[in-house]
Amino acid sequence: MTMADALKDKIQDVFDEPACGHNVNKTEQQRKKGCAKPLTPGAAAGGCAFDGAKIALQPIVDVAHLVHAPLACEGNGWDNRGAASSGSERYRTGFTTDMTEIDIVMGHGEKKLFRAIKELVAKEDPPAVFVYSTCVPALIGDDIDAVCKAATEKFGTPCIPINAPGYVGSKNLGNKLAGEAMLDHVIGTVEPAECTPYDINIVGDYNLSGELWQVKPLLDRLGIRILGSLSADARYKQVAMMHRAKVTMMVCSKALINVARKLEERWGVPFFEGSFYGISDTSDSLRHMCRIMVDQGADPELLDRCEALIAEEEAKIWLQLETMRPRVEGRKVLLYTGGHKSWSVVSALQELGMEVIGTSVRKATEEDKERVKEIMQTDAHMFDNMAPKDMYRVLKEAKADVLMSGGRSQFVALKAKMPWVDVNQEKHEPYAGYMGMVDLVRAIDRAVNNPMWAELREAAPWEGELPEAGVMPPLKGACPVTGIEGQGPAVVPMTRPAPAKEPAMAGTGFLGGSTNPTDFEDDC
């Protein structure tokens, strides 16, 4: 079977996802079409399949990620995400074959890739090399599977082909294809030294700005070990050992649901979906996780410890949040994110006295939408997409005090001189778990209460009224640039009297008229 056929089968396979709610509700014919919406030329946004694969796997910190491509794929895209590592920094290094015209025309792609792997292994000695295929090598028929196989045999370092060239589809599809590569080549290849009933997998979290670490202390206290991770702060071995965990938590997203399902099918690891955004969500996820572990044979006292921890942590965090209430109370928030976050953050903001005037339900499931309705008591404030110009209008008319969204709508808010808080993946601050909620509210406080906004919204000097000025004489002499002569010295009557020599008024003169002795601003 050729590479192209294998890829086609793989795509067909990931589209037919029995664990996906959307997919199950489809007719047989719809299912055949796959779940990717066709991309509309001229009206598409977002990354390609390669991007998705890279996003899903790059946070594996000790692996060397080698992109087989002309420069754009890695050169334009590396070092752009904030997945944090507590170990190796190798994942941040941009490795690429940087294919040239000669490589493509002469068919040197495979040879160059093999040599690149050789140099990489010699230089870095990583636990594995992930080789990403991209559009051009896929098009000219470079067989990266064969190259990886040969390199693995020759160098003794696992070389894993990641077959997700950009043109096959969306970022979401790329996530899934990356998951398939892990299932095919990595998961199940290493056994842990020992297994415990408290081993879990976390799938779909990328430890952006350290979000996993905001939750990890909770797991630590319950004696839960993150055995497998795809791919937050993950080591290669943690992916290879995923089959030995007792439960898989799917974080926030359905992107890697194929991995969770197949872990269950092949190795009997049950999975559940949860989120660490928002207080109630964090508690629910911990409960859910512990319940499954007990089902799997953990000591039932885990449930009691879990409840005790939740009670303690929730009380502690509300105490902290309460102190911040006066800073954010009454603020109107427009939430533009989607999926889970459309409701998981809403309830916490509402409890702090903020008014959520709207939340988008893009990428949200029916279940998510029900929750939004429940929490907001109406669906009037639920919207799918909002065109930037509508969003600009809402903000400009001050119907909202702050926009919370991803980077794409950042400038819509800023150019309307409105505060903006980043809640998507590019953000620089972690907002997960209980402690993350405090950080989030602090970020909202910092955004909406910055004194800068008032200053920026003030009229420019040329927009307001000026006090009456005297009549100016024409310029004397010639213009230094054009050499055009001015109208010569003119005798102009003084239209204002010389200021009275009164010390108390000194310095205020005819301008401004301020009696403030420290007249630095016009109106202070």
Partner: protein, 461 residues
């Protein structure tokens, strides 16, 4: 309103301030063909000169009356006369600015009287303007010395007028000691953009801007000319930059009835707006030139981009009062918190308006201790702050005098819309340069078990 406090201690550690006569010398260097002359012992001048040279990377003409033991006791009038004579013979300056020092002030010389006497006797000195300012080292700091020198120049060289006949397009620009040559240039550009013609006093933008000249004169090369100073009485208005220039502005008003306005700051959106509004009023222009409107809108955009980094930022600033006020006001307007403010001289009332709880009249020792206690995230002060920065592991934004471990100090511009924009970028980029690699431990989490780590194997290829 900030509380002004003086630490109760005898020991000063790592001075923040530069001396008063040095400030006067710096102001004198803004006069064309000038030589500042310290009335004191040789060392007073040598230290100050080295200080100035290190900052400007320029040869600085600075001379001394070289007081010795005998003249210190018997009086230094002869030394002054001899110094003027020698300077005239060697360099033929058009201006000599004398600044007293702690030595001569402690003795209590009547320099004003003696100088008057000398100049009356020696009519051969007539083509050199000689100005004297009393600037004892033990009173105030650089900013005060500068201000006193400017007031002395106005007193000596601006003709008194009993009636107004103003040139309506001519304005005086009195520059405080905190302005760099590039900043003066920027203000002049703004003023000219409204069709006004400024007389700048003192104008170090022409003398200490760092240029190569075709001759070597042993005097300042560039600066305000004596003739221009003599025309200042006819200006329509005086724009004084920095609260420390209020005295000079008032002196001009007293002598020649020139109305004035003090701009305590020309950094930050609102202060620059106020400056521009004044220029519009003075020029009778209802609108501003397109370039200036564009600069304002670019500053607004820069503020939007910078506020993510300045919001909640904890800043420690140590500077002379006017600079301290201008910078801290701007930063606090951007959501930053001035957790430590240390200044040099209690004479400037603007200190009360510094947006901090407390302003300490102190030194870099106080600055370091306070910044540490207040958990400051960045430091803003002159080059000597590098030791504190090193010990506190914090980045240092260099501002004020002296800056000797970076070149181009004269080109730093933090005024006007453009300068403010650059300043916001500077601060935001400094914040971004703080490299912090988060760890699980930061959040109270246990580290990832070592058993998952890759153990490098012996090379096979």
């Amino acid at each position: 309103m900030a509380r002004i406090t003086h630490p109760k201690r005898a020991l000063s550690t790592n001075p923040l301030k530069s001396s008063t006569p040095l400030g006067a010398a710096l102001a004198y260097l803004g006069i064309e063909s000038a030589i500042p002359l310290f009335h004191g012992s040789q060392g007073c001048t040598a230290f100050a000169m080295v200080h100035l040279v290190r900052h400007f990377k320029e040869a600085v003409p600075l001379q001394t009356t070289a007081m010795n033991e005998v003249s210190t006791i018997l009086g230094g009038a002869d030394q002054i006369e001899e110094a003027i004579e020698n300077l005239r013979r060697k360099s033929a300056p058009r201006f000599i600015g004398i600044a007293s020092t702690a030595l001569t002030e402690t003795r209590g010389e009547d320099v004003v009287g003696e100088l008057k006497d000398i100049l009356r006797r020696r009519d051969d000195f007539a083509d050199t303007a000689v100005v004297y300012a009393s600037t004892p080292d033990f009173e105030g700091a650089l900013e005060d010395g500068w201000a006193k020198a400017v007031e002395a120049i106005i007193d000596a060289l601006v003709p008194a007028a009993s009636e107004r006949d103003p040139e309506l397009r001519q304005v005086n620009l009195l520059c405080g000691s905190h302005l760099t040559p590039a900043e003066i240039e920027e203000l002049v550009r703004l003023i000219r953009a409204f069709g006004l013609s400024p007389i700048v006093l003192p104008d170090i933008s022409c003398s200490l801007d760092g240029h190569v000249s075709d001759d070597w004169r042993g005097t300042s090369l560039g600066g305000t000319t004596i003739e221009d100073i003599a025309r200042m009485d006819r200006s329509a208005f005086t724009l004084a930059i920095g609260e420390s220039m209020r005295g000079a502005a008032r002196a001009l008003e007293d002598r020649a009835m020139v109305p004035f306005r003090v701009f305590q700051s020309v950094t930050g959106l609102k202060p620059v707006d106020a400056f521009i509004r004044t220029l519009m009023t003075l020029s009778g222009m209802r609108d501003a030139p397109p370039s200036i409107k564009r600069e304002r809108s670019r500053l607004v955009d820069a503020a939007l981009d910078a506020h993510f980094h300045t919001g909640g930022l904890r800043i420690a600033i140590g500077a002379d009062p006017d600079l301290l006020y201008a910078l801290s006001q701007t930063l606090s307007g951007m959501g930053a918190e001035i957790v430590t403010a240390v200044s040099t001289s209690q004479h400037n009332p603007v200190l009360e308006r510094v947006p901090a709880e407390e302003v300490v009249i102190g030194d870099l020792g106080d600055f370091e201790d306070l910044a540490r206690a207040a958990r400051a995230q960045i430091l803003v002060t002159h080059s000597h702050g590098r030791h504190a920065a090193h010990r506190l592991h914090l980045p240092l934004v260099r501002a004020g005098f002296p800056i000797f471990d970076r070149i181009g100090a004269q080109d730093i511009c933090r005024v006007g819309y453009r300068g403010t924009r650059a300043f916001l970028y500077e601060i935001a980029n400094t914040v971004q340069s703080i490299h912090h690699r988060a760890t699980p431990e930061d959040f109270g989490a246990a580290p990832i078990p070592e058993e998952f780590d890759h153990v490098p194997h012996a090379q096979t290829c």
